[in-house]
Amino acid sequence: MNMQKHHQTKAMAILFLVEIFILVGIILFLKTEGITGTILFIIGIGGCWYIFDRFENLQNYLTSLFQGERRFAIILGLILLISLPFFLRSNPYLIHLCMISGIYVMLATGLNYQLGSTNIVNLATAASYGVGAYTSALLSVHLGISFWLVIFAAGAVAAFMGFLLGLPTTKTKDYYLTLVTIAFGLIVYILLNNLSWTGGPNGIGDIPPPSILGFSFRDEIVLFGLRLPFQANYYYMVLSFVLIYTLISQRFSFSRTGLTWNAIREDEIAAKCSGIHVSRYKILSFCINCFLDGVTGAVYAHYVCFISPENFQFMLSVMVVTMVILGGMDNTFGVIFGAILLTLLPEKFRIFAEFRLLFFGIIIIATLVFRPQGLFPQKLRKYT
């Protein structure tokens, strides 16, 4: 009995150290200015990744620790994530960055169902994201509907768009489908730019921020006696969404749906001959991805309070695809890592902003050539 207690304490201590290490790392990385500091950090992160990747025993050890003391690890993680804005309260911009990383995590986990689980190359993320953002903005601004209802409408409209986008999948091969998604993204952009009721190139402004019981998200918040800038409100909201999205992702992974998507990815014909209705599951992946993107769009629209077609261009779709490919196809943790890394890095290398899209393209090619499974490959399902 004493032995068990000892093991438990040891496990908790190690998990505590690991999570604190990650938190401190994130805070320092955010606060680092200048190129040399950032590069050192990247080397450090790269080193940690290399050690983690190379030593499978280490991976298994950490995973088993996590599984063993799951409740503790999760609660501790939550506490640390909640505390993050407190450490950054002197610099609201950094909280904003965390929040934007969260938005990209949401987009990337959504795309993962298609790109990672099913190997459908969907380059229309910007379209579903934009449709959600615009739907929510129009409903909020013109009809005064509350944010909390509008997000569902945004998701639903985007999901319907996803359904339309997915319909051709029943008859077409992969490359045609990718072409269709690229074309679709461009069509949505053109429509947003030209239709009068979307505001055209001027977009939609004065989107009311969300509010709970009279408290507007644009107000500063006071927690535990400390004053936090209004970005913290949005940070907490996005954090909640990220947790929900991550939970959904894990649940799909260990379910008949996730397994079926993988089967379709591996061999479509064998999947058909194993009783799988392939088109139905492909359309499902579109609808789910687009629904989640739509909700994300609504969150974004009500944060920046002004949206225009410029926010929803092809480049964004490419960025999200890069995050999934680099992070790890069909690995929730990998995708989260990829999203955060590829949101924060361009921010740190702001002087190279000109080269951002170019680097994303090069990262995609390099990853596919040298490490096609991504930084964190998919883990096999275990049933014991």
Binding site: R256, L259, I269, S274, L380
Partner: protein
């Protein structure tokens, strides 16, 4: 005894080429039907027709009395037909266990909303499926059970064949179609394969099996009846010893010394 599968005047044309020509083949429950013929005679095409991958140009396919022409492949599995592939189509990057579980797809119920909202149900169904899959693997192969968390692509060839058969059996079919399961196997592995097929029959005596094979030893040992096709047409039918005497068969297999 009622027919399990019966094709009537089954024909398929690819452009100008007639791959299957007016084929009448039938098989009963509990029977192992061997389908032999030279390469390119249309054997795999026949399987593809039955499983709904190609639509026939003409003719009917009656499975348990019902015409299954025009039914998409995934529904045909639900009707009770499962198959293996000549070139081994496994889900390469998924584990052995996952491959078999996917075979059970049409017998499972959980949908995407269960995954999100009733996760307990979704997980339980998956775990139960894993147990059943284990039981199926245990019945056929100790090694596959040991390797159950290995990726399918990491298995040796003979084990992959076995896994594909297990995946097909996981669908609980009434008719099992095997496409050259012994291809590329050495004599010991072939004996193992024949053992496995007998095991299948033991476990489920009224299952129908159609086996395409080039290895005549396998056909001789396990087929109750043999159909010989050439250029998409049936040229002989009967027991193994019967068809061996027919000159057209020997001619079609020119060069084959064993019969």
């Amino acid at each position: 005894m009622a027919m399990l599968l019966k094709t009537q005047a089954l024909t398929i044309r690819f452009g100008g080429l007639v791959a299957i020509d007016n084929l009448d083949i039938h098989t009963r429950r509990g029977e192992v039907l061997g389908l032999i013929g030279p390469n390119g005679s249309g054997k795999t095409t026949f399987l593809n027709l039955i499983t709904g991958i190609y639509p026939p140009t003409k003719g009917n396919i009656l499975f348990q009395g019902e015409n299954i022409v025009g039914i998409p492949p995934f529904q045909i599995v639900r009707k009770g037909i499962a198959r293996t592939f000549q070139n081994n189509r496994l889900f390469s990057n998924l584990s052995v266990l996952d491959n078999v579980i996917i075979g059970m797809h049409h017998r499972q119920r959980s949908q995407w909303y269960h995954a999100i909202f009733n996760n307990r149900f979704a997980r339980k169904e998956l775990r139960d499926a894993a147990e059943q899959a284990m039981e199926l693997l245990e019945y056929f192969s100790r090694e596959l059970v040991e390797d159950r968390y290995k990726k399918a692509i990491e298995l040796p060839q003979a084990h992959r064949r076995k896994l594909e058969i297990c995946r097909a059996l996981a669908a609980d079919p009434q008719l099992l179609l095997l496409d050259e399961p012994a291809a590329g196997m050495d004599p010991e592995e072939t004996l193992q394969l024949m053992d496995d097929i007998f095991k299948i029959l033991e476990r489920k005596p009224d299952i129908g099996i159609i086996i395409i094979e080039h290895d005549m030893l396998v056909i001789q040992k396990i087929a109750d009846r043999v159909v010989v096709i050439n250029y998409g047409q049936k040229i002989a039918e009967g027991s193994y010893t019967d068809i061996c005497e027919i000159p057209e068969v020997l001619e079609a297999y020119l060069g084959e010394t064993e019969c």
